[in-house]
Symmetry: C2
Subunit: 522 residues, 2 copies
């Protein structure tokens, strides 16, 4: 269901290990044993091709999984829920079997023993072997039984699993790696420490002395069909291709699908709120552009997978937020479009008013998914600190409600009136998703740093945005981010390649410290 | 894509042959060899359960295949065509592997050697073993290589395949069996001979002396969105459950989907023709009611498969045609509905006029899919005679155009001006589908005989229909046809159970001889 789970597929044929008729006819029955042995030892190229064939088959089956997920969200008949669960379980079983086939292990073993560069494999091909080995090691470390227990006992199973993958590394690092390749708790401590130190006083200052903007003028009654039409136009203007995907409506907006040529993006609309649908559509379009921008040359191979949830999220937040001045220009392009579809919008408000209305800090900020750009990272840091301590064993589940409330008070200056609006507000932990939360804020930080690099490399970008022209920005992101997929081994490595430096939390903090005091008239 | 390819699925979990933790904990390590041997020999019940688990997994994967097909027809983004082909190929490979697993063969061997009735298996369970063995034998008779060549060289591959399945039976019988279980060429010769002898003179007489009804009053301009709304209402009125399926629009109408609880039915509409959409919707609803009426108690097992294409077609034609007098009553219910949606329909025409307009014999009748109830069976008989001769080797492909035209003249009184409107008009033969055509006309004949039985068993049926109440007829069909699935081994066996006699072509001929001379004022 998440964009990140969408893997590429290719023109893979069903596996057929038997020799073809043509091959059998040309093979001489009288060849010597030596010749037979020589013929039996496959070349690196043959091994690589055989591996790719298997990986592309897995990729195609994963694509089907993506379609099943989209279909379930958008249009599944209510009585079909159980049948769909059975179908997904059957496909999951097949995927597991295919991904853990012994032959893949043998191919990988031989390929990893060879000098791939000397054998003429390019960097994408070498990364394909590397990533395939990484996936295979993760999957085969888990006995099938345990994988099934894991599904039953999500939280415990997940930790037990992680210990088996690599007993030499901290469990939480292994959990993190599943959502954001290459990131460690040590690196997150560094990043989040810096962010917390910058944000807590900024938030306190804004609340103490700032004057919150108003969004009262935006309240109204907006036909959801018209909203859908408008957002359809915006998504296409930003670069979403209707030849390679569909736009639909679902209760929970998401971007999924079966293939880069078959990206299914959904949005939702509220009758009383015009901006939620629009910002949601821009956000999901960012995810969808990542998916549609995949490198079809390495279609269906692991090198072509998204680098991680954080990088994926950076692509949605980049379009949703841009830089402050560019966002204003984007809104100067969008506001007339909004007025065209909804003539009831008051005439006197400017793009600056819209920008201010979209950036109001929540007071209090209790619920993560309803929060804002400034308080959001603090919600994440709170969860990061708690889940890491939980996995490391330094706190227990029963301590969570108390610790949650203490940290809320300290970081966000408010305490939930009940656990329902506190520690129980997210589904992640109960679903066994530990190590997932940090990627949301990593995404926001990547986005700011990437956008700054785009500003430098694309002269005239501001004029483009004001004119509603997004091809160059999209093309640049395609080249720099989408097409490189998992060629880098971590977000930091990608940042170095794209922006010249690893992730720098200070860039994100500077952006907030520049933007919010101005909006709050400090 | 065809309704018949839709198989049931169940709450199947991914296969796990390893003992569960609980089982391992209770097994004593000190048991004797004899006890171990006894424990190792599975009971008939255990074998049956193990078989069902495997069959339900296959069924769930087949369901996914149905969804992929529907999605491709209804909403696939254009660029995704290749990716979808790869996904379907990968799934087809997996299905073939799962269906031909050696363990299924071993389970079937043990089960077939046992006295299943004495072991307490009921008739549905015994039929499950029988049908599973039938499928397994068919599939494993085909080496994988040949299955792949078959896909490449459809027509030749298909015949070669058939010879391998059972060298002792005529090739054409084995082809037929794939579309309509248990029917043979000898039986078809008998049935079609009788039909041809009755229809050719009836058609000649109607043409020579009859007065064709008019449908000129129906020509007009009908908004297709309104047509879709009307047909949606009709489908629901007949009993289509929107909780267990969807109604959509596609270029070629079909009924498919992923499961009896997830039936995807599509229709198409022409701006200038109101009745084509309505009759198409009624037809497809008949197929969909069969699918939604499957026996969920044997969900995912072969006993629950549709008996054949002919029986499936009987369910669509039964609703589309009923008996003459009941069809008039159905139209007396539908005409006011049509007028409500399309006030431009002239006021003076009666249900009788509509009935006459829907039953005009084509003049000339050159194209099968555009033909009518009287000439349609002759189109089928022509194809049956030619394809049987082709498969038996008594004629050659190069003779087909000449023989086609000769038979057209003899049976239908007209000759095509080109092969495009003659021997090349259908896609079936070029796609390797031999033995498929006869099922269309078997369906029409089954329908008439089944409806006559319903008339007898459901007093007041005519009143129900006139009042737009279809629950009793649908419920009766559910019980008599849909829920028994493949419990009988042939259409004749089903007809005996439902109507008291095997298929009687005379019932169909009597229906036509009663209906058309009246409509044509003879």
């Amino acid at each position: 269901m998440l964009a990140c789970s969408l893997r590429a597929a290719a023109r893979a044929a069903p596996l057929n290990r038997a020799p073809t008729l043509a091959k059998r006819l040309t093979a001489s029955p009288r060849r010597t044993m030596a010749a037979a042995a020589a013929a039996a030892a496959p070349s690196v190229k043959q091994d690589y091709d055989a591996l790719c064939k298997k990986l592309k088959e897995v990729s195609a089956l994963s694509g089907i999984n993506g379609l099943l997920g989209w279909d379930e969200m958008v249009q599944l008949p209510p009585n079909a829920v159980n049948a769909r669960a059975a179908q997904k379980a059957a496909l999951a079983g097949v995927l597991h079997e295919k991904q853990t086939e012994a032959e893949i292990g043998q191919l990988l073993q031989r390929l990893q023993a060879a000098n791939l560069e000397a054998e003429g494999l390019n960097e994408f091909e070498r990364a394909t072997v590397r990533e395939a080995a990484r996936d295979y090691r993760k999957l085969t470390a888990v006995p099938k039984e345990l994988a099934q227990r894991e599904a039953e006992l999500e939280s415990q199973g997940y930790q037990a699993w992680a210990r088996l993958v690599d007993p030499s590394r901290p469990v939480y690092d292994i959990l993190l790696d599943d959502y954001e390749k290459g990131v460690t708790a040590a690196r997150l401590d560094e990043i989040f420490g810096q962010v917390k130190a910058g944000l807590v006083p900024l938030l306190a200052d804004l609340r103490a002395r700032g004057k919150a903007p108003s969004d009262a003028w935006l309240k109204g009654d907006y036909d959801t069909k018209k909203q859908a039409e408008l957002c359809h136009k915006i998504a296409v203007a930003l670069g979403f291709s209707l030849d390679s995907g569909r736009l639909d409506v679902s209760v929970h907006p998401f971007t999924g699908g079966a293939h880069p040529t078959d990206v299914r993006m959904t949005t939702r609309f509220k009758q009383e709120d015009l901006t939620e649908g629009i910002t949601g559509a821009i956000h999901e379009t960012g995810h969808a552009l990542y998916e549609q921008g995949r490198n079809l040359e390495y279609d269906g191979l692991p090198v072509n997978q998204a680098l991680g949830m954080g990088v994926h999220e950076s692509q949605s937040l980049l379009w949703e937020r841009m830089g402050s001045s560019e966002m204003l220009l984007l809104l100067s392009y969008l506001l007339p479009l909004m007025r065209k579809h909804f003539p009831q919008l008051p005439k006197e408000q400017t793009p600056e008013d819209l920008y201010a209305a979209l950036n109001i800090i929540k007071e209090p900020s209790m619920i993560r998914v309803e929060s804002d750009e400034v308080t959001y990272p603090l919600h994440i840091i709170l969860r990061y600190e708690l889940e890491k301590a939980l996995v490391e064993g330094s706190i227990e589940v029963k301590d969570l409600p108390r610790l949650w409330n203490e940290k809320m008070k300290e970081y966000l200056g408010c305490e939930p009136e009940s656990d329902a609006r506190g520690v129980l507000q997210d589904v992640h932990w109960s679903a066994g998703l530990f190590g997932y939360f940090p990627t949301y804020s990593l995404g926001a930080m990547y986005a700011t740093q990437i956008f700054k690099a785009a500003e430098k490399e694309l002269p005239g970008l501001a004029d483009d945005i004001a004119a509603g022209k997004f091809e160059r920005l999209k093309g640049w992101l395609n080249e720099k981010i989408h097409k490189v997929g998992s060629l880098p081994t971590s977000g930091d490595e990608l940042m170095v390649a794209v922006t010249g430096a690893p992730l720098q939390p200070q860039v994100f903090l500077d952006y907030l410290k520049d933007k919010y005091p101005a909006l709050y008239q400090l």
